[in-house]
């Protein structure tokens, strides 16, 4: 019996192993067949599902990037986010700078084969400012009317001269007469919508009728993956070709020779800046004094933070003007980490250390305030703790107050703060009116800078259509910000992208690899084997 039992068990075990092996072999994906380069899809990770999308009013950055793939705009961005003509052959301002004329290209086709006309542009504008679908781009706030003069000419009438206006025409075009819908968008861009697997992916095919020729790759698969570890695993498993890496995975990727052999890693600075706004309107005894604000900047170890805590993933900021976009002053250097000089400046401003705990006091009042910041995210917590420790070393007590994002925005909006740490996205046009004009000091983003000269420069730049002149004016603003330090500009964060080495033609702009020209249009699979560095 026992022998028969053993035999039966052995037989069952062998059958089980054979069965599992057979299933495994059946299920195992054969190595991706090397299809023709023009048919092989490029698989890109998207953090959220971009659909449904209103092309003329995308709801967020992801939807905007998607809309730019499917539909062109009158104006596009080059790699440095300078406006360039796309669906429009060009634009001309009237002599009084109140009418902007766009001439459309004749050869632009919608994906259903109909040509782009001026009526489509008018429809796009109407959709973009429709309050039922969202909130219009503030660049459209000064538009009085949009007029279809003839089939290929559009006049945009402005209430007053406004040089940053052109950038708002990077809005993706939507076809008139409601062709396509939010789940099956119909555009006039290089990629044509093919399929949407809700919550999973969107598939786009190269549009053969695109006026600049079809894209180099035949198909784009936009894979929706939120989780960074799944993204990294998907890259290693060959399920995706392009993805962003978190700082942790960036370090892991750099340390892995096999990863380096299969993928290249690009880093780029995103148009974003972390900063601490000091309320300088006299409502507190600290930050009305320029010396104190500068001392705060000198006392905080910004380079050390980036090096040690942010995995080297960023660059110390100088002002709100982003270094990869035009408008800032490249000669300005960030203030160094210099706590000794910070102490001197604070002493000059009348702050003396108290016996016992060393906290600075002036007129009997201790230098103690609350620093507000968003409680979500480990990065903001780390920055806040570093600021607290650095300031304590020069005798300043910062009490940390983490808040829910919505509360933080409310507190800033209602001016209920002394110091607040925030991140700010930078627009492609450097117009800093919302940030630094006195008119915004009561309710807008400006935490208290009221400088008539800065106001004049900003206003002049809004009415100046010569880019060199605008740049000169903005450099003055940048220098004044550098001197006055209304904010401690913390750092410009980086983003890292891992890309299959077999994919060629991929470049990045501050907006990433997609939302600029030529962007994905230039991507192409290499014909032969691509060698990794050192091979």
């Amino acid at each position: 019996m026992s022998g028969r039992g053993e035999t039966r068990r052995d037989f069952l075990r062998a059958s089980l192993i054979a069965g599992v092996s057979a299933v495994a072999v059946r299920c195992a994906r054969a190595p991706a067949a090397r299809s023709s380069p023009s048919l092989r899809p490029v698989r890109v990770v998207f953090p959220t599902d971009p659909l449904p999308v209103n092309l003329a009013q995308p709801r967020d950055v992801t939807a905007y990037q998607f809309a730019r793939l499917v539909s062109d705009s009158l104006v596009g961005f080059d790699r440095r986010l300078t406006p360039i003509p796309r669906a429009a052959r060009g634009w001309v301002w009237s002599d009084d700078h109140r009418t902007l004329t766009f001439s459309l290209r004749e050869s632009v086709l919608w994906h259903d084969g109909l040509p782009l006309t001026s009526q489509d542009v008018v429809h796009t504008w109407r959709t973009a400012i429709d309050p039922r679908t969202g909130v219009p781009d503030r660049g459209f706030a000064l538009v009085e009317s949009v007029e279809a003069v003839d089939r290929l000419t559009v006049h945009v009438h402005y209430r007053r001269a406004f040089s940053p206006a052109v950038a708002s025409w990077t809005v993706p075009l939507a076809p008139a007469s409601d062709r396509g819908d939010e789940t099956r968008p119909l555009g006039c861009g290089p990629w044509k919508f093919t399929r949407w697997d809700s919550g999973e992916r969107v598939i786009l095919d190269a549009f053969p009728g695109y006026y600049d020729g079809p894209p180099g790759a035949g198909r784009l698969e936009l894979e929706v993956l939120r989780d960074y570890s799944t993204r990294f695993a998907a890259l290693i498993a060959g399920r995706v070709d392009i993805t962003n890496l978190s700082p942790e995975y960036y370090e892991k990727a750099l340390a892995d020779p096999d990863f380096q052999r299969r993928f290249r890693v690009l880093t780029y600075r995103i148009p974003f800046c972390w900063f601490i706004a000091w309320r300088m309107d006299g409502s507190n005894p600290f930050f009305g004094d320029r010396r104190v604000r500068l001392a705060m900047t000198l006392a905080i170890d910004r380079p050390g933070f980036i090096e040690k805590m942010s995995h080297g993933f960023g660059e110390v900021a100088v002002t709100s003007f982003h270094p990869d976009l035009w408008g800032g002053d490249p000669e300005l250097k960030p203030w160094p980490f210099d706590p000794a000089r910070a102490r001197v400046l604070l002493a000059e401003a009348g702050w003396r250390p108290r016996a016992g705990d060393g906290v600075l006091v002036k007129n009997g009042a201790p230098f103690e305030f609350r620093l507000l910041y968003a409680q979500s995210g480990a990065e903001t917590q780390r920055i806040a703790e570093l600021v607290q420790a650095n300031l304590r070393a020069v005798g300043v007590k910062a009490q940390l107050e983490p808040l829910a994002w919505a509360v933080l925005l409310d507190r800033r909006r209602t001016r209920d703060f002394t110091a607040v740490m925030l991140g700010q996205r930078t627009d492609a046009d450097p117009d800093p009116y919302d940030l630094w004009h006195s008119a915004e000091a009561q309710s807008g983003f400006n935490a208290g800078l009221q400088d008539p000269e800065v106001d004049r420069w900003i206003e002049q730049a809004r009415e100046t259509f010569d880019r060199a002149e605008r740049e000169r004016l903005y450099r003055r603003v940048a220098r004044r910000l550098h001197e006055e330090q209304p904010n401690t500009f913390f750092f410009y964060p980086n983003s890292a992208l891992a890309i299959s080495r077999e994919l060629t033609g991929l470049e990045v702009s501050p907006l990433g690899p997609l939302a600029f020209w030529p962007g994905s249009h230039a991507w192409k699979w290499s014909e032969g084997r691509v060698r990794a560095p050192g091979e």
Partner: protein
């Protein structure tokens, strides 16, 4: 036992349904108040701060009125519940589509995932537990105790990452994520392959819990006087085991299985994110992140209904499994 007497326990069903309806409304009211009382301006979820710069105070007031944010919370809730009873859950702040459509699109993937996890718990966890309970104190029982305890203690997200790396990256025998392949192939086999890892990971904790529970109840039944008597009288072991070890454990298990629905619903939030499974958990995560109140309310109502339905189901299963419950109170 006459049929009338057998089903007397079910006569309270109408009352239970009424209580269930009131419970769902209570849950939604609590969620509505909590959402409204959450700090911060609810308009921030509809309009990004950058966009808000483009709004005049008049436009902001109009938007608040249009969204109903200018009314007291009780009136807003009454309006919401009126629409809810008519099947209208409002419009998502983010996508501006009907919430019912958003939920409908994502409902089936979640049902599918939960059903698969339920099957794993029921048809693998329980038999394993019963089997271990038949040999209390022996090697198989000791090993099962260690294994079930480890499975119960292991963080499910960590297990998910390990399984992903083993089966999808290293051996490449199962899909890494998603519900369908990019080529659109929709065969049952392909679909089941996609289901394996997320369902296993979702079932993990409940599997360990139920297996352990089944082991304990069947072990005590197996060692009971009835079982010993029956075995001494020569009744076959297998029959004794089913009658005196497995059957008594069904009553509490039925009650617990009914409560699996809400447990899976919350577990699915994490698993659906890791496995990019396009279900309600994925939707819930995004809605909470973006403070999309109509979607959060719609999903809360759905989970409330599921919880109450699960509890009712547990009662009914308990009555089916336990004759005493079917007969109603003694003397009735």
């Amino acid at each position: 036992m006459t049929p009338t007497r057998a089903w007397r326990g079910f006569s309270t069903l109408p009352r239970r349904f009424a209580v269930a309806g009131v419970t769902v409304l209570g849950v939604t009211f609590a969620a509505f108040v909590a959402l409204s009382a959450a700090p911060g301006d609810p308009l921030a979820s509809r309009v990004a701060p950058e966009e808000r710069r483009g709004l005049s105070p008049q436009e902001e007031r109009e938007l608040r009125t249009r969204l109903g944010l200018d009314r007291p919370v009780v009136l807003r809730y009454l309006a919401w519940s009126g629409r809810f009873l008519r099947g209208d859950l409002g419009e998502s702040f983010q996508t501006r589509r009907p919430v019912a459509d958003e939920i409908r699109t994502r409902l089936w993937p979640t049902v599918e995932l939960n059903l698969a996890a339920f099957l794993v718990v029921t048809f693998a966890g329980l038999p394993l537990g019963w089997w271990a309970g038949r040999r209390p104190g022996r090697k198989i029982d000791r090993w099962s105790l260690v294994t079930f305890s480890l499975l119960y203690a292991a963080p499910s997200f960590w297990v998910a990452l390990v399984l992903q790396n083993l089966f999808a990256v290293h051996w490449r025998i199962l899909p890494l994520y998603g519900r369908t392949p990019p080529d659109g192939a929709a065969s049952l086999g392909v679909h089941l392959q996609h289901l394996v890892l997320p369902a296993l990971c979702l079932a993990l904790h409940q599997f360990a819990f139920f297996a352990r529970f089944a082991r304990n109840t069947s072990a005590s039944g197996w060692r009971s006087g009835h079982a010993l008597c029956a075995r001494a009288a020569g009744v076959p072991d297998i029959r004794v085991f089913f009658r005196h070890a497995v059957r008594p454990s069904l009553v509490p298990l039925a009650a617990l299985l009914g409560l699996l629905l809400p447990a899976f619903a919350s577990g699915a939030v994490l698993m659906e994110n890791i496995f990019a499974w396009p279900g309600l958990g994925f939707l819930f995560w995004s809605a909470v992140e973006t403070r999309d109140a109509p979607v959060v309310m719609g999903l809360t109502a759905l989970v409330g209904i599921l919880t109450v339905a699960g509890s009712l189901l547990a009662d009914l299963l308990g009555q089916l499994a336990d004759p005493r419950a079917r007969r109603g109170p003694v003397g009735a």
